[in-house]
């Protein structure tokens, strides 16, 4: 045995050492070639502190004006004169190219193209085409970036909506706003970081469910807080009769002591979350009434948003409230306006829906701008997918419908580091396929996160043995959308 050791040592001469070394160096080199960041320092998880952006953000807050039901791009921002020319003619199969259809039109034997009932005009420095249904949006065209090349994977409302709101078609993931709350924290500790406001138009509607603003696997403090559309937007915030603030304080202190005790016993993080939520609710008792009081708004504001803004539960009122919440440091304000699902009676219903939202959406941009807040607030307007260029059901001169279309649709964004006054992306002359600069939902998320100062690949949360991201395993930041 001893001899063998000795022999080994004797054999280990300089030549052998160097040749062995070269193998080692070679494998190191190979390793770094195969896994580029194998030697870079640390993993993302150690470096990431929730609550602080990864890099200097362009936008601090988001107001997302979600148009639920999927507004037609062909009557709003994607001008296709060819469809009018070819009114009633069959959609060429080469254009459809095997696109799967919903159950609502898959039984249709023909797919007659149908052009917009409404005319389009060009506006602004970018000469963007906008339909006559959106005159107020047209008036702010120099402040917004119209994206005509959004696409998604889902063809029905719930999966598509869930995809937009959580980055996955099935439920139970964390919502966009929850990720934002987790990644950036709350600016104003007296209000929730993520608020949800609902309104409803007269058009054919689709439901929204609280799973869309769920915190998923994230801590429940990141859950969206739904404001009710009645006279008092946050329920049970007032002290009941006979209870004053001092009493309330005392009650909360006692409750916190009890909760603290059981936290020590069980260590359930939900308990400490609960303590924080009670504390925030206490502070909300003073912050919210001031916020939701619209009576002090100057007359000009009522004229800007339209008189509907004083009627609780309307889209206009929610836009005004969203501006106030955002001004007070709420990170993510999610509006949903329902009623955009025009399978039939499109010209009529779409006009009503547009009337509901057009003035107030534009007013929100103007209002943020005149306060110097547009630079730091990102406003997004859009639905979950687009609508088909062919008619669903019987085609008539003034009445037609459009089915769901995932391959292209239009949204617009404004403020917060988005390149203003541009039209991004392009669809073919049939308005069916994207021919330039496609934007997938994951790309959209990645870009928005980037504007908020977050690297979408580093904003992760480990759950059930796997790290989750809003963008799952895809998505790329699109510099073309950013100023």
């Amino acid at each position: 045995m001893k001899n063998e050791f000795l022999e080994h040592h004797l054999n280990m001469n300089r030549r052998k050492f160097l040749s062995n070394l070269s193998i080692g160096v070679g494998s190191l080199a190979l390793g770094s070639l195969l896994i580029p960041d194998i030697f870079s320092k640390g993993t993302d998880e150690l470096a990431f502190t929730p609550g602080v952006p990864h890099f200097a953000p362009k936008a601090k807050r988001i107001i997302y004006l979600f148009q639920n039901g999927a507004p037609s791009q062909l009557e709003s921002f994607d001008y296709k004169p060819k469809l009018r020319e070819m009114m009633g003619q069959e959609l060429p199969p080469s254009i459809r190219n095997g696109q799967r259809l919903t159950g609502m039109t898959s039984g249709q034997s023909s797919f007659p193209l149908v052009g917009s009932y409404y005319d389009f005009k060009q506006y602004g420095a970018s000469r963007a085409w906008i339909s006559d249904l959106f005159p107020h949006t047209a008036s702010i065209v120099d402040d917004i970036c119209i994206v005509r090349s959004m696409y998604t994977e889902a063809i029905n409302h719930d999966p598509a909506l869930t995809f937009f709101q959580t980055g996955a078609q099935q439920g139970n993931r964390a919502s966009f706003g929850s990720w934002m709350s987790y990644g950036l924290g709350s600016e104003n500790k007296n209000l929730p970081a993520f608020c949800v406001l609902l309104s409803r138009g007269k058009g054919n509607g689709q439901g929204v469910y609280s799973k869309l603003w769920s915190n998923g696997f994230l801590d429940s403090i990141h859950q969206g807080v739904q404001f009710s559309s009645g006279e008092s937007p946050v329920l049970y915030l007032n002290n009941p009769e006979g209870m004053d603030m001092a009493n309330r304080r005392q009650m909360l202190d006692q409750l916190a002591a009890l909760n603290e005790q059981s936290y020590k016993e069980f260590g359930d993080p939900e308990i400490s979350t609960k303590i924080q939520q009670y504390e925030m609710a206490y502070r909300m008792q003073t912050a919210v009434p001031e916020l939701t009081d619209l009576s002090k708004e100057p007359d000009d504001i009522v004229k800007l948003y339209g008189p509907e803004c004083l009627v609780p539960g309307t889209f206009a009122a929610n836009c005004l409230l969203a501006r106030k919440l955002s001004e007070s440091g709420v990170r993510f304000i999610q509006l949903y306006h329902q009623g955009w699902d025009q399978h039939g009676n499109l010209p009529n219903e779409m006009a009503g829906q547009a009337k509901d939202v057009d003035r107030a959406s534009a007013a929100l941009i103007t209002d943020l701008k005149q306060r110097g807040l547009l630079d730091e607030t990102l406003v997004i307007w859009g639905g979950e997918f687009g609508r088909t260029n062919y008619c669903q059901g019987k085609i008539q001169a003034d009445n037609y419908g459009r089915d769901h279309h995932p391959r292209c649709f239009s949204i617009w964004m404004a403020g917060g580091g988005v390149k203003p006054g541009i039209v991004y992306g392009e669809t073919d002359e049939f308005g069916y396929n994207i021919i330039k600069d496609p934007v997938h939902v994951h790309d959209f998320h990645a870009t928005v996160l980037h504007l908020m100062g977050l690297d979408h690949e580093k904003l992760t949360y480990k759950h059930q043995g796997r790290r989750y991201r809003l963008t799952d395993v895809a998505g790329k930041v699109l510099p073309g959308l950013m100023a």
Binding site: P53, R127, N188, S295, D299, K303, P307, L373
Partner: protein, 720 residues
């Protein structure tokens, strides 16, 4: 090394001679040659082949300067030079031929190409000549060395010119030569000279210059532009669509008339937009961009073209003590770094009751790091601005809706880096704002809803030419809006003896004109509602809202019904359909009307059974009318009942039929509506009433659900 046999030299020499002749031919007749596509492929290999002659000729030049003492080596040198020169010359010849082929493709800068071409051709001739001369072993002659030096020089120059063509001028030195931003600042830019002309120069004047003047159009001087070309006017001021210079851009790219022609660099969207707006605005040749209003399309197009790529801001200060930041942070004063491991801090303040001068004063230790302060709606006073002025790193300051009046704005002018200042909602005046003249870095100033009059903005803009002044939305009364309709303060539409009808409107200062007699309310003669109006019988209240500066609202109407005898209890004998159970029996007696929608929980819906309800009074009441509120929505299969029967008596077991009413049947295309069906009968003393609504047994033939059963919906019973 063995010298190659003379045969190889002869073959090589002949090819070289042939190639030289061919090059001469190509150079002379290059303008009249049309290449077949496969030769284009050969031509495109020029950048590949050219590296060989460079290396071989440089090697030959190097060897020419070696002076071996050994005669054997001397011999070797001679052979090497000959072989290298021959190979080099041949390769140069092929490279030149390929290069000339390649040059036939469009899109190269003509001037640069000429120099490069001639460089190559001269090099070829020089190398060929040197090769011929080496037959006589003259390598050590001075002119031989000179020739080799010349070859080296030519190689470098020609190679460099070629690289310029492929990679762009100044490719090699670009990283070390400081980039001179060619962009003119917007404040100085003239729309024609600094924006339009450069576009024309770059994209159009290759052909439309005084030399070529294609289509008779020259774009070098304004006068020539105005003159136009053979096909018409290049510009028609105010009408881009008639201006050929713009209209031709819009033609489809495969159109023969499309400009610039296919293969030439096209105008990008920004440039196209600029041309459009310039022509649209009158195609002036001496307009300054800054003379245009802030929101003018041409100015914006100009600004977007002139916009230098935004550079990331640099902060050259040390981070603050983290503990100190944490200490100063609380629920109402939030301090956070702009990013992880970044020194700059942002401060937000909330809740005005928690704010005073100290809130700012306590931040002074962080004055070297704070770059943004958001104090909107906080009670910041004029005197606090002096304090704020010590935060020299401030870039963004938001003072919207604070208490400042503006006397001390001069303090803020001393902030050297302040870029964005928001003063919306404060009564600052023009005089006070003039103090900001010395704020050199100020780029954006927000003055919506401030003390400035409409005319003041222009004056202020002249004083602050570098600053974008945002005046925001000003309602000048030119586009009045329509008011929304008044709303009822209470949802009760049924009353017992009398009722105070109270209408409200969300907009302050609105007058509500109303009528009680069913006539249309008018905004002049109809009385204005003061708080409320009393009614005591069935009444339709109609109302409109008016206010100065607004269009009157659409009229709204509310029908109020009286019910004299409210039963002490109501019992449903039959059960309503599960989806439309309302609040059970109470639904018929809750003073609430159902409205237009059956699914709102204010209606009772029956499908299989008739609706049968029992109303019980503890003391007998003289009843002469039962009024039944029903819904009709034929498209939704909801029909008026086929009959309504009213029974009355002293107790539920002894009831007799008091009245049977057959309501008007539903007709095709009837709109969805709620209505009251009155059942009148001679006054009868009853303690108990039974109301039965029988649904339509058979839906008529015009309806898609013909032959089926109709739904019955009821919302209220009024007993008089």
């Amino acid at each position: 090394m063995n010298e190659p046999t003379g045969k190889w030299y002869r073959v090589g020499g002949s090819i070289l001679l042939a190639a030289n002749t061919f090059v001469l031919f190509l150079v002379c007749f290059s303008n009249s040659i049309v290449l077949p596509p496969w030769l284009q492929v050969v031509g495109r290999m020029h950048p590949l082949l050219l590296h060989f002659p460079i290396v071989i000729l440089l090697l030959a030049a190097l060897i020419a300067f070696i002076r071996p003492r050994d005669p054997a080596l001397q011999k070797w040198k001679h052979v090497a030079i000959r072989v290298l020169l021959l190979t080099g010359a041949l390769l140069t010849a092929f490279t030149v031929i390929m290069g000339i082929f390649l040059s036939k493709e469009a899109g190269y800068d003509e001037a640069g190409l000429q120099w490069h071409k001639w460089g190559g051709v001269i090099l070829l001739w020089l190398v060929s000549a040197l090769y011929v001369l080496t037959r006589r072993q003259l390598e050590d002659q001075w002119w031989m060395k000179g020739g080799m030096l010349l070859v080296t020089l030519l190689l470098l120059v020609t190679g460099h010119l070629g690289a310029d063509i492929t990679h762009g001028a100044n490719f090699v030195l670009a990283p070390v030569t400081p980039q001179q931003p060619k962009l003119v600042p917007l404040e100085k830019a003239e729309v024609y000279t600094d924006l339009v002309q450069p576009i024309l120069e770059e994209k159009c004047m290759g052909c439309h210059n005084a030399g070529k003047a294609k289509g008779g159009l020259v774009l070098e001087h304004p006068a020539q532009l105005l003159k136009g070309g053979k096909n018409g006017k290049a510009i028609v001021a105010g009408h881009p669509d008639q201006s050929l210079i713009y209209a031709r851009l819009l033609l489809p790219p495969d159109d023969k008339k499309h400009m610039p022609p296919a293969g030439k660099p096209q105008l990008n969207e920004k440039e196209t937009a600029l041309l459009y707006h310039w022509i649209k605005s009158g195609a002036s040749f001496n307009l300054k961009a800054i003379a245009l209003p802030m929101d003018d399309s041409l100015r914006m197009a100009a600004a977007s073209l002139l916009q230098a790529p935004a550079s990331e801001p640099v902060y050259d200060f040390a981070p603050a003590d983290e503990k100190l930041v944490q200490q100063l942070n609380n629920n109402y004063r939030v301090i956070y770094p702009i990013a992880q491991h970044a020194a700059p801090l942002v401060v937000n303040c909330y809740n005005k009751d928690q704010f005073n001068s100290k809130t700012i004063e306590e931040l002074l230790p962080l004055k070297k790091q704070i770059i943004e302060m958001h104090l909107q709606k906080m009670p910041v006073e004029d005197k606090d601005l002096k304090l704020l002025a010590s935060f020299k790193e401030l870039r963004v300051l938001n003072l919207n809706f604070t208490n400042i009046k503006g006397q001390t704005l001069a303090e803020l002018a001393s902030l050297p880096k302040l870029e964005r200042l928001s003063l919306s909602g404060t009564p600052v005046t023009l005089a006070a704002l003039q103090a900001l003249k010395s704020a050199k870095a100020l780029k954006e100033l927000y003055l919506w809803n401030s003390g400035l009059a409409a005319g003041d903005f222009e004056k202020l803009q002249k004083q602050l030419p570098q600053t974008a002044i945002v005046k925001g939305f000003i309602e000048d009364g030119s586009h009045p809006l329509k008011l929304n309709q008044p709303i009822l303060a209470s949802t009760d539409l049924v009353f017992k003896d009398k009722m105070q009808v109270c209408l409200r409107h969300p907009v302050k200062g609105v007058a509500i004109h109303y009528t009680l007699d069913g006539t249309a309310p008018d905004t002049v003669n109809s009385p204005v509602l003061k708080d409320s109006v009393e009614i005591s019988r069935n009444t339709v209240v109609r109302a409109v809202a008016t206010k100065n500066g607004w269009y009157a609202s659409d009229p709204v109407q509310f029908a109020f019904s009286r019910t004299t005898y409210i039963p002490d209890s109501v019992v449903l004998i039959t059960t309503p359909d599960g989806s439309y159970a309302g609040s059970g029996a109470l639904t018929l007696n809750d003073k609430q009307r159902g409205g237009a929608e059956q699914g709102n929980g204010k209606w009772l819906g029956y499908y299989k059974d008739p609706l049968a309800a029992l109303l019980i009074y503890k003391t007998p009441v003289p009843v002469s009318q039962v009024c039944v509120g029903i819904l009709s929505n034929v498209n939704g299969y909801i029909f008026p009942p086929s009959k309504i029967e009213i029974y009355g008596g002293q107790d539920p077991k002894h009831l007799k039929l008091l009245k049977k009413v057959i309501p008007a049947p539903g007709k095709k295309d009837d709109p969805s509506m709620s209505m009251d069906v009155k059942c009148d009968f001679p006054a009868t003393n009853v303690s108990c009433l039974k109301v039965v609504l029988t649904g339509l047994e058979k839906i008529p033939d015009w309806h898609p659900g013909k032959g089926g059963r109709g739904w019955v919906f009821a919302d209220e019973l009024m007993i008089n």
